[in-house]
Amino acid sequence: MKKTSLILMFILVMQLIGCNKTDDGVFTEPITMYEKMVGTWTISKVAQKDLIAIAASSKPDQILLTNKFDFKTFTITLNVDEKFAPTTFEVGGTSPQLFLQSGYWKLNNPFPNTDGKPLVIELYSDEAKTVLIDELSISTVPGAKKTLVFDLIRESNGVAYVDYEYSLKAN
């Protein structure tokens, strides 16, 4: 009898202990691309690519413009809020204004695409991000190496004919 009572008490105590709330840690938002893209980027290389020449395998198909047209002065600053949500952007320097120079930005996907499609920086003129002005297709995503490469691709009649490739480094 004494033995039985001890076993019952042990089960009871164990149940009481087992009713403690589980500690799952503090909830954190997943890391987005915005954390990697925030900040000011300066130019390391600019190339103009003739997509029609590339398609036809004719030369020249590319001209380096890094030291031309004041591209050396090009900077772009991508801002985020305290929650790493994209807000405004601004282009600095005196290089040709090939795309919107200031406004609002976001990515078409805050995480790296899993289908192999490039991420795109969407540039908007309005804070509500309803008026999309330009798109910059990202070919090199910043990672351990603080480099960002995006392409401004122009199309005519649905056919892409020129690509301005900006290679940037974190300031």
Partner: protein, 373 residues
């Protein structure tokens, strides 16, 4: 004192000459192979130099410093250094080098200098060894060698420039129909060329009709020289291509003949033509909108080209600029984004490309594509 002033002046402006690309396009002499103590004509093509298109009144003269400077008047040159206008950009300098430089012929191996206007304010690059275009006195040593029979100069001759053919009459072969003998031609009273081109296709025969043009010049020691311009001498049509020259030499009676080794006719093969790359003009990219950057490339430019300019017109807007680069490749970088930001209705641009001397290289319309928004 005067000499010092000019030397100082020379040193002062020399760096600018070196930096400039004012190379004389072409230099040739008549005769092609000349001795230092005979009258010669030196021809200069000044296309692409600061003297391009210069008037006869402004004048072109030679400023020469090698083997010496026979006319130290920087401005207001004497007659002996003045050139005569031939046509277009071709100017001619007539001189007897030994007389001009007041030196024994054997002390003159070459002539170096530069061209400038009479006032001395427009100057070409030098003709000198470092430029690879010095005027050199022909050395007779090759044709005077023991076994030498025939020589010609220049090796890279062309149909429309002077060619000198030299023979050593001491070593040519005569009496080929009976017992061949060597050197008999050296005793001939006169020596003439019986010549043809392309396997005797077109000939200038050694006969009485051609006495005025067939004679060779005796340079002494049995060395004779024939100076010809192939196109003129053989009366060749403009599109006729010479592959080789056939020759036999003799006096006007054919009593003395001069043939080659084993009594063969002489033959000089035309040198392979150096094909110059054709200049290429490229508008980059192939399609362009008014929101793009336009690059205009001109590759393999003519060696005489010192620079290019462009003028772009779009509606009422006109914009001009210079190309950058070297003769290998010159590029103009044009920011259409800025240029055409207020030209809303423009559907094409008109681009004119000129050389620095004003010659139109290209004139073309480039349509502006509409970009997808």
């Amino acid at each position: 004192m005067k000499k010092i002033v000019y030397t100082l002046l020379l040193m002062l402006v020399a760096p600018f000459w070196l930096m400039s690309q004012n190379a004389i396009q072409e230099i040739w002499t008549q005769p092609a192979a000349f001795k230092a103590d005979e009258m010669i004509s030196v021809f200069f093509d000044v296309t692409g130099t600061p003297l391009d298109g210069i008037s006869e009144s402004e004048g072109v003269r030679v400023w020469t410093w090698f083997p010496n400077n026979p006319d130290e008047n920087w401005a207001n040159p004497s007659e002996k250094t003045k050139l005569k206008h031939v046509n277009g950009n071709i100017w001619r300098w007539d001189l007897n080098p030994a007389q001009l430089y007041n030196l024994p012929a054997n002390q003159i191996t070459g002539i170096y200098g530069q061209l400038q206007n009479y006032a001395g304010t427009k100057i070409t690059d030098a003709f000198a060894p470092d430029k690879g275009n010095a005027i050199t006195v022909y050395s007779l040593s090759t044709i005077l060698a023991d076994d030498a029979i025939i020589e010609y100069y220049p090796k890279q001759f062309t149909q429309d420039r002077p060619l000198s053919i030299l023979i050593n009459a001491n070593n040519t072969w005569s009496d080929c129909e009976s017992t061949p003998t060597k050197g008999k031609l050296a005793s001939a009273p006169d020596i003439r060329m019986h010549g043809g081109v392309n396997g005797w296709d077109i000939q200038v025969m050694n006969n009485t009709e051609n006495l005025a043009k067939t004679a060779l010049t005796h340079l002494g020691n049995g060395i004779y020289r024939k100076d010809i311009v192939l196109n003129d001498y053989f009366g060749l049509a403009a599109n006729y291509t010479v592959t080789g020259i056939n020759m036999v030499f003799a006096d006007k009676t054919w009593a003395y003949q001069g043939k080659g080794l084993n009594c063969a006719d002489f033959y000089i093969q035309t040198p392979e033509k150096v094909v110059e790359a054709v200049p290429t003009l490229i508008f980059f990219p192939q399609k362009v909108s008014k929101k793009d950057l336009l690059c205009i490339l001109r590759q393999n430019n003519e060696s005489s080209l010192t620079g290019l300019t462009y003028t772009l017109t779009a509606g009422t807007l006109t914009h001009s600029g210079d190309f950058e680069g070297t003769t290998k490749e010159m590029i103009a970088y044009i920011n259409l984004v800025d240029l055409l930001k207020d030209s809303n209705d423009v559907e094409k641009i008109h681009v004119t490309i000129k050389s620095k001397t004003g010659k139109i290289i290209s004139e073309t319309d480039i349509p502006l594509v509409q970009i997808n928004d």
